[in-house]
Symmetry: C2
Subunit: 310 residues, 2 copies
């Protein structure tokens, strides 16, 4: 049996996993991300942690296939990043530096792409070579898998689903500076924004009016209790996301679309509202595309990173 | 030196080319597409034509790398089509049948994807591994190249750019049955439709009012003569296409977008109107994407088909 590491670098913690190459996750743990001094300690800290784990498990370098790393930034095919502000990095040859630190083979990719690859390998996308993963969290992230490989693109920026423009009439700005990005409607923040706007529009009764903090969870909780106004909000969310997915499918023709992130904790009820609007605008060849909830939660990133090196 | 064939099957004619594997096109010719009787003669006719060409050029099978074929339908990774009405075909294992007919290695793909691959290999996309080709003809076709390979997708329907919904308010229907498809605004037919609508809207003076047939060519010709109303029409065309390309780029992150098809004969003037609206909505990582005109014309399909087998 051979082994590999999957590493998922976040702005606060680095998640790590030791895998058998058949996909069995043997151990997982995390360390703090030390972003000070231009993030110079981040890679050495990881190398040190992996070395310790190998000692603990009595593994030698010859038993290791290598290390896969997910990074919260665009990463090109050579494992190079240009500017990863939340890790303190400027230009950095991540794969090369990590290979020098560990004497193991290293591959690096964007963290959203890694999560998608993880769900394809061990989660909700298992058995498919063409899929899209959409992560509905504070923002909207995405990863597109084409023929078993993450779509990286010319600048390492493939799969930036959150910044598809879905409303050319929008006047509010997205964090990216543009107006009408999918993220403004389909993220947790976006759903809270839609709710606030709807509540302010008129005096229609709603359970949400007695809720202290109207966030995405409150909207879905009220929906499940039959709240009509919450249903309107979720319909609006579903129309933006479902229509965007229909356009995405026309270009990338996935077998399955995996919905993950904090908003997906609302459960299966979410999928119906997305599928309804997807079907309305889907090209005929894409009508059989399935929608499923992500299965790996926070482990998707380390799973996909491990898969990248195999 | 080794050789290969590139074959581009259309509803009326089959175009064929004999290539050196270094990309040199040695000979090209075409035969009629006999679609009667379920198109049963199409592949045998091609096999016969290729055999004759080999005899004429004194080539043996051992000198041939194989045959690439472009087909006007979704084609899966095994070279299978489900239903190609314009060739008379139902389910057909194209690669397998052709291999049996010729004793050569065969690969088949969608014709729009082949045109994109051709432009990447020998035309306007040369030197790039990530590109989009948009063909503005009677309809809008597209091919997406990711890391040097055509994006095929789960059902062979990747790159259906013409059926991206770009206007959710549209009431007129596209040929596909949906409303608001890019094809309704950016094809030759679409531009003529925009022109008709604009001319009917009010009595604003325009050179187009004295033109017998207001088609895409007439609009661009008038634009070049400084016709203000034609410029409005081209601005509208550019906004739909440029905005759609910005969304496409956010997902596929191309280095270059190649514009081909009959409408592209308008020349460089076209590109400015697309780029202007692309830049308005492009995600920051995609701002360096270049727009160029296709270079291979009708040869793109045979070039890409040949490349597919290499």
């Amino acid at each position: 049996m051979k082994y590999c590491f999957g590493v998922d670098i976040g702005g606060t913690t680095v998640k790590m996993g030791l895998f058998q190459t058949d996909g069995e996750l043997l151990d997982k743990w995390e360390i703090k991300t030390r972003t000070e001094n231009g993030g110079e300690a981040v890679l050495p800290d990881i190398a040190e942690a992996l070395k310790k784990k190998m000692e603990e498990k009595e593994l030698t370098i010859s038993q290791m296939t290598g290390i896969g790393i997910g990074i919260p930034a665009p990463v090109d095919e050579e494992g190079v990043v240009q500017n990863t502000a939340n890790l303190g990095w400027g230009y950095k040859e991540v794969s090369k530096e990590m290979e020098e630190l560990t004497s193991m083979k290293v591959a690096a990719g964007n963290d959203a792409n890694m999560a998608a690859l993880g769900e394809m390998w061990l989660g909700a996308g298992k058995g498919n070579k063409n899929m899209i993963m959409v992560t509905l969290g504070t923002g909207v992230g995405g990863g597109v898998i084409v023929n078993g490989q993450p779509l990286i693109g010319a600048h390492g920026a493939g799969g930036e689903i959150g910044h598809l423009c879905v409303n050319y009439e929008e006047t509010d700005s997205c964090g990216c500076g543009k107006q009408g990005c999918l993220e403004q409607y389909a993220s947790a923040t976006g759903i809270a924004r839609l709710a606030k706007k709807r509540l302010e529009k008129d005096d229609a009764p709603s359970a949400l009016r007695s809720v202290e903090k109207v966030d995405a969870k409150a909207v879905f909780d009220a929906l499940k209790e039959g709240d009509k106004l919450s249903e309107e909000i979720v319909e609006e969310f579903g129309s933006y996301l479902g229509h965007a997915m229909a356009n995405l499918a026309a270009v990338t023709d996935p077998a399955v679309i995996v919905i993950g992130g904090g908003v997906s904790k609302a459960g299966d009820i979410l999928l119906g509202y997305i599928e309804k609007y997807f079907m309305e605008k889907a090209f005929f060849a894409n009508k059989e595309t399935k929608f499923v909830l992500a299965e790996l939660g926070n482990d998707a990133g380390i799973c996909g990173a491990a898969k990248l090196i195999l």
